[in-house]
Symmetry: C2
Subunit: 272 residues, 2 copies
C-alpha cells in the first residue's frame, strides 16, 4: 500500500482506516517504523492515530542508526512474526534503506508480506516498498541521465516503481527516466491523501481523495536513452498514461485500467 | 511556434534564431507584441535580440489597453500585411486575449498565418496561439472540474492545446482535465528553452534544449468527467504520452511520433 503522503489524520482518516481494515481491524497488531523521519514525534503520532482507529496492539520500532537496527534484529523480527500490519512513516527513503538494507528485519518483512501481511508506507515510506526505489532526482519535465537515482528498495515487488509527492513538484521527467532505462515496471505517481494498494492478484486499487497516475511504457516503440550522452535529454514515445481515482483498478498482468463498477463500490482486495 | 518560456537570450539563441530563419533571415520583417507583459522592457529587449540576429526590419507594437488596440487597428493591420514573422512575448495570456480578442488585428494575424507567415509566442504567448487557450488553472496531478479554465485563444489551430511553463509546476492535472472534456485536440506541454513548431502539413517539430510532452487522448476508452460533480476528481484511461526532444516529429494526422533521422539532422519545416 503506497500512500502519496499527507494522508488525512483529522477527518475520516480514510486511508489509515483502510490500512487498519486490511490489517484485521480490532484484531490487528501493527508495527510502525518511523525511521525515515528525523522527527521524534512521528512514532507516537502514528501510535495515537492507530489507537484511535481501534488497533488491538501497536508497536513503534524507532531505530536511530544502523548499529541499533543490527542490535535489535531479534526483537524486531519477533514483533514482525506476530504482527498483522506494517507501516512506514515518511521522511527520507535513503535513511530507511541505509539503516535496514541487508538486515534480517527486511528479510522477515518480505517473508511476512509474502504470507499476506499488509505493508504500507507513506511518502518516503511508499517509495521504499518496491525493488527499484527512486532515491532522489531532479524535478522537471524532461528525462535525462542524472535525472533519477535508482537504488535497491525493500523489494516487495519489482513490477512497479513508486514516485511519491508526485504533485508537489513536477516529477514526470524523473519517472519517465526510470522507465526509459527498462520499461518492465509500471510507474506509479501517487498524489497526496491517496493510496495505491497492490493486491495478491497483482491488481492496483486506488483509495483516497485524489488520484494515482499509472505510466505504462511496455509498448513504447522508441527511446534513445541508450545512446544519448551527458546532459542531452532523451526522448521516449508511446507511454500509456492512466489517471485512476478511487474505485479504479489497474491490472498489472493485462496492463488494463478498469473503471469503478456501477454503484461506485470499491472492488475487494484479494489476499490469495 | 510555441516556446515554453525562458528561451536562451545570451548564448546561441537557438530558438529565437530558428524563428528568424523561418521568418526569412536577413530579408525578414518582424512584428513584436510585448502586450502580455506589464513590463516596459519586454518590447525593446526583443527588438535588440532580433536586431542582433540580423532581422531586416523590427516593429514593436506595444498596446497598453483595449482602446489603444482599437484606435491603432489600421496601423497594426498594415504592419502585419507587410511582415514575414510575428512574435508574442510572455506575461499574462488573458491580457492578450482581453486586449486583442475581436479586433481586426487578430483577424489579420490569422489571415497572415494561413498565408504561411510564422507566428511565435513564448510562455503566455505560446498558450495564446491555439483556438482553445488555458487561461489559468490549478497545479497538481489530479484532474477535476475547476482545474482548468479554457477560453477562446488566437485560433491559429484547434488541433493542439498548449500548456507552457509545464516544468515550473506540475500541470499534468490541468492539461488532462482539458483533454477529458473533449479529447479531439492534442495536449502539448512545452518545457523551457524549447519550442514546438507546427508546420503547414500538421507536423509538430521540436527545437531546443529540453523536451515537449505530447498527450494524445484520442483513443482513450474511459473518463467520468461527464458524471462527477463538485470537487470529486475524475479518472481518465489510456492517454498516450510521448516525450519529444530536438529533431523528433509528431504527426497530428496519424498521431504518430517519429524519431530523429539518422545523423540527427532536424527535419525541414514545410511551408505548403
Amino acid at each position: 500500500m503506497a500512500i502519496g503522503g499527507a494522508e488525512d489524520k483529522k477527518g475520516d482518516k480514510r486511508i489509515l482506516k483502510r490500512f487498519v481494515d486490511e490489517a484485521g481491524g480490532p484484531e490487528s497488531t501493527v508495527v510502525v517504523f518511523p525511521t525515515a523521519s528525523e522527527q521524534k514525534e512521528a512514532g507516537p503520532m502514528y501510535a495515537r492515530l492507530f489507537d484511535s482507529l481501534e488497533v488491538n496492539e501497536i508497536h513503534v520500532v524507532d531505530l536511530v542508526d544502523r548499529q541499533t537496527a543490527l542490535d535489535q534484529e531479534d526483537r524486531v523480527v519477533e514483533l514482525l512474526e506476530q504482527c498483522t500490519g506494517i507501516f512506514f512513516a515518511g521522511g527520507n527513503q535513503l535513511r530507511l534503506t541505509t539503516l535496514l538494507g541487508g538486515t534480517r528485519i527486511l528479510t522477515a518483512l518480505r517473508r511476512r508480506h509474502a504470507e499476506g501481511v499488509i505493508v504500507a508506507g507513506t511518502s518516503a515510506g511508499a517509495a521504499l516498498l518496491s525493488e527499484h526505489m527512486i532515491a532522489f532526482g531532479e524535478s522537471g519535465l524532461t528525462p535525462g541521465h542524472g535525472k533519477v537515482t535508482l537504488v535497491p528498495g525493500m523489494g516487495l515487488t519489482n513490477k512497479v516503481i513508486v514516485d511519491q509527492h508526485f504533485r508537489q513538484r513536477d516529477r514526470l521527467g524523473r519517472l519517465v527516466s526510470a522507465l526509459a532505462y527498462n520499461p518492465f515496471p509500471v510507474g506509479l505517481g501517487v498524489d497526496e491523501d491517496t493510496a495505491a494498494i497492490l493486491d495478491a492478484a497483482d491488481r492496483i486499487h486506488v483509495v483516497g481523495k485524489r488520484s494515482v497516475v499509472v505510466l505504462d511504457a511496455n509498448r513504447s516503440p522508441f527511446t534513445n536513452a541508450d545512446s544519448v550522452v551527458g546532459s542531452t535529454p532523451f526522448a521516449m514515445f508511446g507511454i500509456t498514461l492512466h489517471v485512476l481515482t478511487e474505485g479504479c483498478v489497474f491490472e498489472l498482468e493485462t496492463r488494463r485500467a478498469l473503471a469503478p463498477p456501477p454503484g461506485g463500490a470499491a472492488p475487494i482486495v484479494d489476499d490469495e
